[in-house]
């Protein structure tokens, strides 16, 4: 394995800087250089820049293992998780911007938390159960294939990369966006949730919902968890159309 030596690359980072709380701060790009290390991720690189060169630099990490969703950012124009991005996969000049479509907190830090909380309230992202929990009873059986399917759509980590990549979400703040659609699909397929197709119709069968998507499908390309967002849209469209049909017949 290579150790830090003359043969390692010098990396150039061009990083978006702006502190909205500082009246003297103007949006700008700032350049930093850093010697590359073996298996260097952007978690390591950004922390070294902050600790050694610019203590005011703002960014977010928590788990640094691609499960918490804190560190979504634009890396060379593409939204992804910084913690699992190896510098060795990038050219020696690396451009970093905050995710668009979210409120900027400062530099690379954006307020994904507030966005996702509002989305969760809007789609009521919890199981609307049919009956109260009985602590004395054993669990209701569930087929493992169904459990696997629900788990698959429950894997979204709310990093916001799909929202940032979405042409509609970037221009219309009321669009549910791919992460919101996926959340709806997750509860829609869960038999423990008592909401009817008609209840869901109100949430998704509109321009703010599934019919607002213009089909660019960047969301599926950028999702760090490789969620099948294309299938999610297909599933929701079928369910929404089915619901519309049922309504008409009434």
């Amino acid at each position: 394995m290579a150790t830090e030596s003359d043969s390692s690359r010098e990396l150039t980072f061009e990083i978006f800087r702006f502190n909205p709380l500082d009246p003297g701060s103007e949006p700008r790009m700032q350049t930093y250089t850093l010697r590359e290390e073996p298996y260097m991720t952007l978690f390591r690189a950004l922390n070294r820049i902050r600790e050694e060169q610019d203590p005011g630099l703002q960014f977010d990490f928590a788990c640094r293992s691609a499960v918490c969703g804190s560190c979504g950012m634009m890396i060379n124009g593409r939204p992804t998780l910084a913690c699992k991005t190896l510098t060795s996969d990038l050219a020696s000049t690396i451009r970093l911007h905050p995710l668009p479509a979210f409120k900027l907190i400062g530099d690379l830090s954006v307020d994904t938390g507030t966005w996702f909380r509002e989305m969760g309230s809007r789609v009521e992202a919890w199981v609307h159960e049919r009956q109260a929990f009985d602590p004395e009873a054993i669990e209701e059986p569930m087929d493992d294939d169904l459990a696997v399917a629900i788990y698959e759509s429950d894997r979204c980590i709310e990093c916001g990369c799909c929202v940032a990549s979405c042409g509609v979400a970037n221009t219309r703040g009321d669009f549910l966006a791919p992460a919101g659609m996926n959340r709806v699909a997750r509860f829609m397929m869960d038999p423990r949730d008592g909401r009817s197709t008609g209840d869901w119709f109100e949430v998704v069968a509109s321009d703010e919902g599934v019919f607002g998507c213009i089909g660019l499908m960047a969301c599926q390309d950028v999702c760090p968890k490789e969620l099948p967002l294309l299938e999610v849209y297909g599933y929701l469209r079928r369910r929404a159309l089915g619901a519309a049909f049922v309504r008409k017949q009434r």
């Binding site: 709380l21 203590p55 928590a62 788990c63 499960v67 909380r117 929990f133």
Partner: protein, 654 residues
Amino acid sequence: MDKIETTDVLVIGGGLAGERCAMEAAALGQRVTILSLVPPRRSHSCAAQGGMQAALGNCVKAAGDSTDLHFLDTVRGSDWGADQEVARIFADNAPVAVRELAHFGVPWTRVRPGRNVYHIKGQQVAIDEPAEKAGLIMHRDFGGTAKWRACYAAAGTGHAALYAIDGEVLRLGIEVRDRAEALALIHADGRCHGAVTRCLRTGQVGVILAKATVIATGGFGRIYGRYTTNATINEGTGAAIALATGVVPLGNMEAVQFHPTGLWPSGILVTEGCRGDGGYLLNREMERFMVELEPAKQELASRDVVSRHMMGQIRDGKGVDHPGGPHLWLDLRHLGEEHLTTKLREVYEICRDFLGIKPWEELIPVRPTQHYSMGGVRVNKDGEAYGMRGLYAAGEAACWDMHGFNRLGGNSLAETLVAGRIVGARVAEFAADHQIEADTGLALAFLQETELTIDAWLARTGQGPNVYDIRDAMGEIMMGKVGIFRQGDELQAAVNELRALHDSLDQAVLRCREPGANPELSFALRLKGMLRLALVAAMGALAREESRGAHSRIDFPARDDRNCLSRTLVRWGHSEDEPMFSYEPVGLLDLPPGDRGYGKASHVDMELSIEQYNDSVLTRQQEQGRLATQEPMGASLREGAWHDAEARAGLTGT
């Protein structure tokens, strides 16, 4: 004055323990405010991969399991350091907590009827799961348990649990303030009134007064610097602000768990589920050393035992060389691509993203890494802090104390939910019976003290050390001298060096003075607390002259039940120079101290009889500040219920 706000219940920490506690209090009619360093779904609970222990006994390898066996495993795992009544409350309530999560939507992996092929101790074994158990919650094998007991949602159990619980928090309309932290507890005369808070968006400080306050900030792994599986946010702020009261003791701070399989050198956790599903550990000679060293449990002995054997291999020169230090191998190749990309998908992703390897083709470099803090804010069985009415703690931040000196895998996730339910109910009762009792004068005095600390940091200039260098030095000392194997002279050196670092903090200088939260200032405000946690952990380890669970003294290799069957307590007032150590009995003994059944160890027997020991527990704990509980001590212990549990389950007792 907008700097002072009020609520009924203030919960500090938005992970599983804090949110489950908040839910319970809110459901009982209390107005609850949660402070969280990050949006709650990004809390470290989300990183728990493998499972949640609960004795449902659903699959063939779990048949005959019972809460009694779970109790026995937990107490043995703790090396008898646990409070056995708390271990009993935990084991008895864990099945309800798991089933409640199913009700909230967690997609637990389910029993597949018919032929299933499992990897058991390196062998492929075909087992027919009966049709009548089809679709019930499945179990996997974890270290230190008599039966398969860990319930799991593929490899994302913590994520699924946290999202389900946070959904309930959303449903209940609980106020959540993310990017917010507590810097000090407001208290007077043994009563807690809330906290001084700081907004990490704006840097603004304020006060939230509450009838009851809950600390649920998780562990303090970051005092080990980069040698931890913990997230960057696990800096022990809750334990630190409790310690700073000078009244509330922290318990067993020297009891620190190292996880056998931290990815080397990044420290990212590779779940125990890998070994549960049949993964091996190999040394540089490609030998499965655990088979010889622990014939019965092999790779699935408890974490402290496996970690020590791994470090023993490394000390004997059987580690694999690496620029960051030697490591061992985790071998999952025989589990196959399909199993690794579905049942252990998160493990596969970690290998792909952080090493660039396929785990069905290549070996994974691992090494024991700091993982869990058994110690924390010492509370009684209701979760109420010693010596401080209206202050509670739950989850990893607390020393409740079901883990003693070693926690079993899958018991922490279960603890967050069991404790959250129980403590949340007690908190709600307390809040219902009390008013906000502090006056603005007290609140402003605490606020002013915090503001003065911030001003002092911002005012200091010159050539002093920087805060990140101090942090790195602390991490090296902790891993090097307060790690897996400990000895007196090294611990004494660690205490001296940490003391010097602690004192150097008064000269440390910030380089950033930008308006807003200021990341360097935010870290600096936590660093003194972290150094104090590190110091009391090192001092506690030095004073405990025995080996128990994860605390392994080379110079005192035996467990000493005659002199050390006790819990370490430490208090350190904000303005005092020295911490104060004291000891209390671990709690009522039901299962007498004995062999764990793994990890060859000797012990010095108790001098007292069990009855004599138990006679003094209540008074001696009360002397240390234990507050009255809703039910008397021992009411939930169900003494002796475990007696024939192993025979009933077809196991031979040890």
